[in-house]
């Protein structure tokens, strides 16, 4: 009765998504092993071993795993699967890319984007872009991806043993050519951890950029916009968050000068923490905001940037 959790990392450091998925994995009630797959991953392995509640870290170090391609990682997971009752990964692009392969090769159905663990075999997951919640019961071996915005991260405090595992020969015909990571560029809106969104109250395209960019830079956030701001020409179409724009579920959503019409809320109600900054205390956005700040955004946002330094 053991759970295997696939660690999320970028080849250098352990991603926090792992600690969040760990929180969900713990709710299955079984000992947890964390698999770190990659190349030259000692630091990541050590970080994983420190997470609270991890019994063992499996180190799979091979050149074929360097780019976290779905084929070799799923082959690795399948080779280990016999000893586990549950295989879990955060629903990151790597987790989503890899785990369904494992499920198919094990001939079980995956439960995607688990947002709540009801019982060790029963889970909630959002469907219809979060407009409905489905409760599903799985039987047999579990394959789960975890919606990371739905769980808080498990802290450190453990000292798991570390075991090196054999990596199956890579038979895949996919070849990694390169990547273009947006270190200097802003993260992509749909997958961003933090979104800073602006509305019509920004007043102009210039102010939209001037007010929001420093905050977004500070938080490494994507920039979003309400439809009114897009229609007014303050922001391009592809930044629109809402019913007809993008649906985002970041950990932190900061709505600046956005009244919060339901069309906008439809695009961001899955966010974990919502912050609203608006001069109108009656704006509907405050009814869904965890933290509200009433006042002039042109002074409050720069203040916030300073406070975050």
């Amino acid at each position: 009765m053991t759970t295997l959790l696939l660690a999320e990392h970028d080849g250098k450091t352990l991603n926090e998504a792992t600690a969040k998925a760990l929180t969900a994995a713990k709710l299955l009630g079984a000992p947890i092993h964390v698999l770190v797959a990659g190349q030259d991953i000692a630091a990541i392995v050590n970080a994983a071993a420190k997470l609270d509640g991890v019994a063992k870290v499996l180190r799979a170090d091979a050149e074929s795993l360097a780019h976290q391609l779905a084929e070799p990682i799923s082959a690795l997971l399948v080779s280990l699967a016999g000893s586990y009752d549950a295989i879990v990964a955060p629903a990151t692009s790597t987790g989503k890319n890899t785990l369904p392969r494992v499920a198919a090769l094990l001939d079980v159905m995956q439960v995607s984007e688990v947002s709540k663990v009801i019982a060790p075999d029963t889970f909630e997951r959002p469907i219809y872009a979060g407009n409905a919640i489905e409760t599903v019961q799985a039987s047999g071996k579990l394959v789960l991806t975890i919606r990371i915005s739905a769980f808080t991260a498990t802290g450190e405090g453990g000292s798991a043993s570390i075991e090196t595992v054999a990596v199956p020969t890579d038979a895949s015909t996919s070849q990694w050519l390169g990547n273009e990571l947006s270190a200097s560029v802003r993260p992509e809106l749909a997958g961003a951890r933090v979104v800073v969104s602006g509305g019509r109250a920004l007043g102009s395209a210039e102010q939209f950029e001037a007010v929001l960019a420093p905050l977004a830079d500070r938080l490494n956030a994507a920039i979003g916009a309400s439809r009114a701001a897009v229609d007014a020409g303050y922001a391009p179409n592809d930044l629109q968050v809402g019913q007809t724009g993008k649906v985002v579920a970041p950990e932190l959503y900061i709505a600046i000068g956005i009244s919060g019409a339901i069309q906008h809320l439809a695009g961001m109600k899955g966010a974990r923490i919502v912050v609203a900054i608006n001069k109108d205390a009656d704006a509907p956005i405050f009814q869904v905001a965890d933290f509200g700040l009433v006042g002039d955004l042109f002074t409050l946002v720069p203040d916030l940037v300073k406070a975050l330094e």
């Binding site: 019509r200 439809r227 009114a228 229609d231 007014a232 179409n237 019913q243 007809t244 019409a261 339901i262 069309q263 439809a266």
Partner: protein, 543 residues
């Protein structure tokens, strides 16, 4: 856009898959199975743009498909109880049934979703071989030598600036020996045809109302399937015409709606606000205890009746259904007349085609319609709207009752035939003569704001297209609509399309539910509603 269009030819081209267009198509195929009959519909599906109370009088269907009761239809809930209330702010006074003219009785009628009825009619039409293409708007009348020879569907994939985008698709020319415009009230092609052929020159002005509808899921305790209730009075002032309806359908669903006549004078009046307020009346709100609102929509309604019917036939085609205005105001029904007008028009078209004719004016159609059941239905109630307009709701309804009883008993009225007076766009008075109306704040449970309402209408338009609401003169909009009339479009629009933001007219065309009220009520007739890209607009379900 001058790129040539692909062309196709049909015997009959019909614009609009509502009750009128579908009935015309069905009758055409019943009479002449070999005819090629095409319907284009701007809604994404048949029924997506249909919104109606609706209590239907089955007389139209009885004529069109006599054995319809043996078909699998969405017509399931017969009216079992019919109530009429006069509301004051705190009380409700039932009007006894015996003073109601018999024509107003709903005995034998059905509570339906007209959208679902249209879906069913479409399946009947397709079974007869009618080609129905939803998602394609009739965007342009094709006129050659003074004869309507077809319609063109709208171009798709045009960018905001009016330039074709990467997914541009040119509209298509659909040519027909006869073209039937069945667009419903205030159709955009109908408007052009009426102007081009002077169809309304001998008719009285057309009058309109705006009708709202919400569907609610109510608790078992508050559900009485078959119950129909209408109200007059509060929250409208006596000088403003209108009233409410509540219809209990199957599956714990209740339709609640409100109609405000568009000849109101006070530019501060918000028909939407009045509707939301109505639901808070003690005699009404209890129905919605523990209930959940499922959908919302709005649509203009024709109210001019008999004396406002334009000439129907024009060279190469005809107006069918509510495009010509066939609503019987006191009965609050029009779909039976839409069906019946579809039938009579189809009969004339089929006869003309059988005689080898095409592209001419169906000379006998107008007389046949007026002499037939549609004309008779409307003639009896022709004075109701003018009496309401002149005398207000309370006295007007009393006089209308006398008038309808006289018409029923003696076949004539002491009033003769009254005229309507001004068109609705001319009835607004300057804001300086009125006080703003303070509508109560919405509670988000029983009453709602416009945007959360539009949200559940499923309304959407492809974003990157030019706005389909054309304001001819923006300077005039500011100097008159805003400065004199205090921006009535921000209140009459049921979808929050129009906003005045720091003196700039913001048009949120994406919200438009295609009700056409702006096209009707703008005081300067400065707003022209044209069809957006096909498939845009509301996605009404069960409306």
């Amino acid at each position: 856009m001058t790129e040539p269009r692909e062309e196709m030819e049909f015997d009959v081209v019909i614009v609009g898959a509502g009750p009128a267009g579908l009935s015309a198509a069905i009758r055409l195929k019943q009479l002449s199975p070999d005819l090629s009959v095409l319907i284009v519909e701007k809604g994404a599906e048949v029924g997506s743009h249909i919104i109606s109370g609706a209590v239907i009088d089955p007389s139209g269907l009885d004529t069109l498909i006599p054995d319809w009761r043996t078909h699998e239809t969405p017509i399931k809930t017969a009216v079992t109880d019919d109530r009429f209330l006069w509301l004051t702010e705190k009380s409700a006074f039932p009007l006894p049934g015996f003073i109601m003219p018999p024509l107003m009785s709903n005995h034998g009628n059905y509570i339906v979703s007209l959208g679902n009825v249209c879906k069913w009619l479409a399946s009947e039409a397709e079974a007869l071989g009618v080609d129905i293409y939803p998602g394609f708007a009739g965007a342009e009348l094709l006129v050659e030598d003074g004869v309507v020879v077809g319609v063109a569907t709208g171009d798709m994939g045009i960018g905001k600036s009016g330039e074709p985008g990467s997914n541009f698709a040119r509209g298509m020319a659909l040519k027909g020996k006869y073209v039937l415009l069945a667009e419903g009230v205030r159709g955009s092609l109908t408007k052009r045809a009426i102007a081009q052929f002077g169809l309304a020159k001998d008719a009285d002005v057309q009058k309109y109302g705006i009708g709202f509808k919400e569907i609610w899921q109510v608790t078992d305790a508050n559900h009485q399937p078959g119950l129909v209730q209408h109200t007059l009075g509060w929250p409208l002032q006596d000088s403003v015409g209108g009233g409410s309806y509540i219809y209990h359908l199957e599956d714990n669903q209740v339709a609640v709606g409100f109609v405000v006549h568009l000849n109101y004078k006070n530019p501060y009046l918000s028909p939407f606000g009045e509707f939301q307020r109505l639901k808070t009346h003690p005699a009404i709100k209890t129905t919605f205890d523990g209930a959940k609102r499922l959908s919302y929509g709005a649509r203009a309604i024709s109210e001019g009746g008999y004396q406002s019917i334009p000439r129907l036939a024009f060279p190469g085609g005809a107006l069918v259904g509510d495009a010509a205005g066939f609503v019987n105001l006191p009965r609050i029904k029009g779909s039976h007349n839409a069906v019946l007008s579809g039938i009579v028009t189809a009969e004339h078209v089929a006869a003309a085609l059988a005689a080898g004719r095409s592209g001419d004016t169906l000379a006998d159609l107008d007389a046949a319609l007026r002499a037939g059941p549609v004309g008779k239905d409307l003639h009896k109630v022709r004075n109701v709207k003018p009496l309401l307009s002149r005398f207000g709701t309370l006295l007007g309804m009393g006089l209308a009752g006398v008038d309808m009883w006289c018409n029923t008993l003696f076949g004539r009225s002491p009033f003769g035939t009254l005229r309507h007076g001004k068109p609705d766009h001319a009835t607004l008075e300057p804001a300086s003569l009125h006080q703003p109306i303070d509508y109560p704040k919405r509670d988000g449970v029983l009453t709602f704001d416009r945007l959360s309402s539009v949200f559940i209408s499923g309304t959407n338009h492809e974003e990157n297209q030019p706005p389909h609401l054309h304001v001819a003169d923006l300077a005039l909009q500011k100097s008159s609509e805003l400065d004199i009339f205090a921006g009535p479009s921000t209140r009459y629009c049921p979808a929050g399309v129009y906003e005045w933001v720091d003196g700039t007219y913001v048009i949120n065309a994406q919200n438009c539910v295609h009700c056409k009220t702006c096209d009707i009520k703008d005081p300067n007739q400065n707003i022209d509603w044209v069809p957006p890209e096909g498939g845009g607009g509301p996605n009404y379900v069960n409306m």
